[in-house]
């Protein structure tokens, strides 16, 4: 599998591309993407520098456009995206149908990648995107590789990508989860609740369950493995290392049982996993 890693700066992209990522994806302020501005690049020019850097190494940079925006902003967004794509030919990760249609109808022809946030749960949903120049689909977080066989082996030749679940997996389905918006808070899903007077957490996949997804992702024929943008880049470096070692194990043909054992050690070698085991 090829690693796709999120980058927040040129230097991060440089490091990621030099250390095993085949692609980096980035958001730019003002172009709607699923991160706040502090997790985006400075501007369009920084993205183009990254795209040039990636291209020089035979790799690629992807532009994240995986969020909604106001209709009044569509023309400006389209103008900027068109200029970026024209300059570097980068693929575009897209989520919202109206913006996608607007870009396509305004003549933008790019390699479009359907965001996991578009919730493509079955192969029939691919039919909808048939005429829009889609080249790849990112599986939603809560769709398992074993459930996505017809998407992965689709007749249209679309590539597939999946998140590196051994790093991160939400308890609930993003974007069908509106808890944060309701409470105007962050990660409401991870609050320490009580239920019937006893401590309670919203359940999420435990480590063996997460490792099984990675194992199945590798063996199901999914081409790309996605590592999310992480606030602290030191953490992300550890995650990339974890992913590379896991992929090396899988390439060696390790059994599921052994992968679980070895994977668990690797999982807990990552600092940011130490405090949240998911058990």
């Amino acid at each position: 599998m090829l690693i796709v890693a999120g980058a927040k700066t040129y230097d991060e992209a440089d490091w990621l591309l030099a250390n095993g990522a085949a692609e980096v994806y980035c958001g730019v302020p003002g172009l709607p993407n699923h991160r706040d501005a502090d997790q985006c690049l400075e501007n369009d020019a920084e993205f183009l520098r990254i795209a040039r850097l990636a291209g020089a190494r035979g790799k690629r940079a992807l532009l994240a456009l995986n969020e909604a925006c106001f209709e009044k902003d569509y023309p400006a967004v389209a103008r900027r995206v068109r200029a970026i794509v024209k300059t570097c030919g980068c693929p575009v990760i897209i989520r919202e149908l109206p913006l996608f249609h607007y870009l396509y109808n305004s003549g933008l022809r790019a390699e479009f990648i359907i965001s996991s946030l578009s919730l493509v749960f079955n192969s029939r949903a691919l039919d909808y995107y048939n005429k829009l120049g889609v080249k790849r689909v990112i599986l939603p977080f809560h769709l398992l590789p074993g459930e996505a066989g017809r998407i992965i082996n689709n007749r249209r030749g679309l590539e597939t990508e999946i998140f590196f679940h051994a790093d991160f997996c939400c308890p609930n389905m993003d974007p069908a989860c509106r808890l944060d918006g309701w409470l105007k808070s962050f990660q409401v899903c991870r609050f320490p609740y009580t239920c019937g007077g006893k401590p309670h957490r919203m359940p999420e996949a435990n480590v063996p369950q997460k490792l099984d997804i990675v194992y199945d992702s590798f063996h199901s024929g999914i081409k790309y493995l996605k590592i999310i943008r992480v606030t602290d880049f030191k953490d992300q470096k550890e995650v990339l290392k974890e992913a590379r070692v896991m992929l090396a194990l899988l390439e060696k043909g390790v059994s599921r049982e052994d992968f679980r054992k070895l994977g668990e050690k690797l999982y807990f070698s990552v600092s940011r996993h130490g405090g949240r085991t998911g058990r």
Binding site: N122, Y128, I151, C177, T194, G196, A205
Partner: protein, 236 residues
């Protein structure tokens, strides 16, 4: 205008339901908007059509390919141009398939999950999108959403109570695994989750977290009330 009364029941619950529990309702919503393990097979739908005197509506969540074909079989078995089947749709693949293959035999109703995707669409796009896909009705459980849709000509609204969904998961909170295997542990249960920062408790019902609704809004296009079961909360 007459307000229709509907009762929403998952397929496993319906298998054990008494006829008396269905009395007084004009419509039966059979299935679930949040979990595909609670959907009716053809035999369930046929049994419901026999047992229930009113119209039976097929309710569907996000669908994986594993259940998509069976939902299509339910549609083809229980619909015709003369006897259209109403289907609550939350999945883009199903919405698109119904448009392409079953537009003449299915009345499409937009489910609550999908309604939250459409509410952020520019109004013009949303109106075209719903019209192109033959959507005639939108399921709601939040009165504030009415204003997002009421500008779209010809739409009718259903209102669900007493449960308003806020979040959904496919990692089963009752059995703590992904949905492939299911012992139906959620049936007949609700959990109440509390935290000092919450203005009121969260409820877990099936695969959805949400709130108890507070009253039904009045609106000229709201002509259907959907009653869901909400058992008294326990630890589950």
């Amino acid at each position: 205008m007459k307000t229709e009364k509907a009762v929403a029941i998952s397929a496993p619950e319906f298998r054990g339901v008494r006829a008396a529990a269905l009395k007084g309702f004009d419509l039966l919503y059979l299935g679930d908007e949040f979990c595909q393990n609670l959907l009716p097979a053809r035999t369930d739908f046929g049994a419901a059509a026999e047992k229930f005197k009113g119209r039976v509506i097929l309710v569907t969540p996000l669908l994986t390919d594993a259940v998509f074909d069976e939902m299509e079989r339910v549609i083809t078995s229980f619909s015709s141009a003369k006897n259209r089947l109403e289907v609550v749709v939350n999945d883009l693949g199903l919405l698109h398939t119904v448009k392409r293959r079953y537009a003449l035999r299915v009345n499409v109703t937009l489910g609550r999950l999908f309604a939250h995707r459409v509410k952020v669409m520019p109004p013009g796009f949303a109106a075209r999108f719903l019209k192109e896909h033959g959507v005639k009705r939108v399921e709601l459980d939040d009165a504030s959403l009415l204003s997002r849709f009421e500008g779209i000509k010809g739409l009718k609204f259903s209102f669900h109570s007493p449960f308003r969904y806020l979040s959904a998961t496919r990692f089963c909170p009752w059995e703590r695994h992904w949905p492939a295997s299911c012992a139906l542990s959620c049936l007949g249960k609700t959990q109440k989750l509390e935290h000092p920062r919450l203005p009121r408790p969260l409820l877990l019902k099936g695969q959805a977290y949400g709130l108890r609704t507070s009253g039904v809004p009045a609106h000229p296009a709201l002509d259907r009330l959907v009653k869901e079961s909400l058992p008294a909360a326990g630890r589950g």
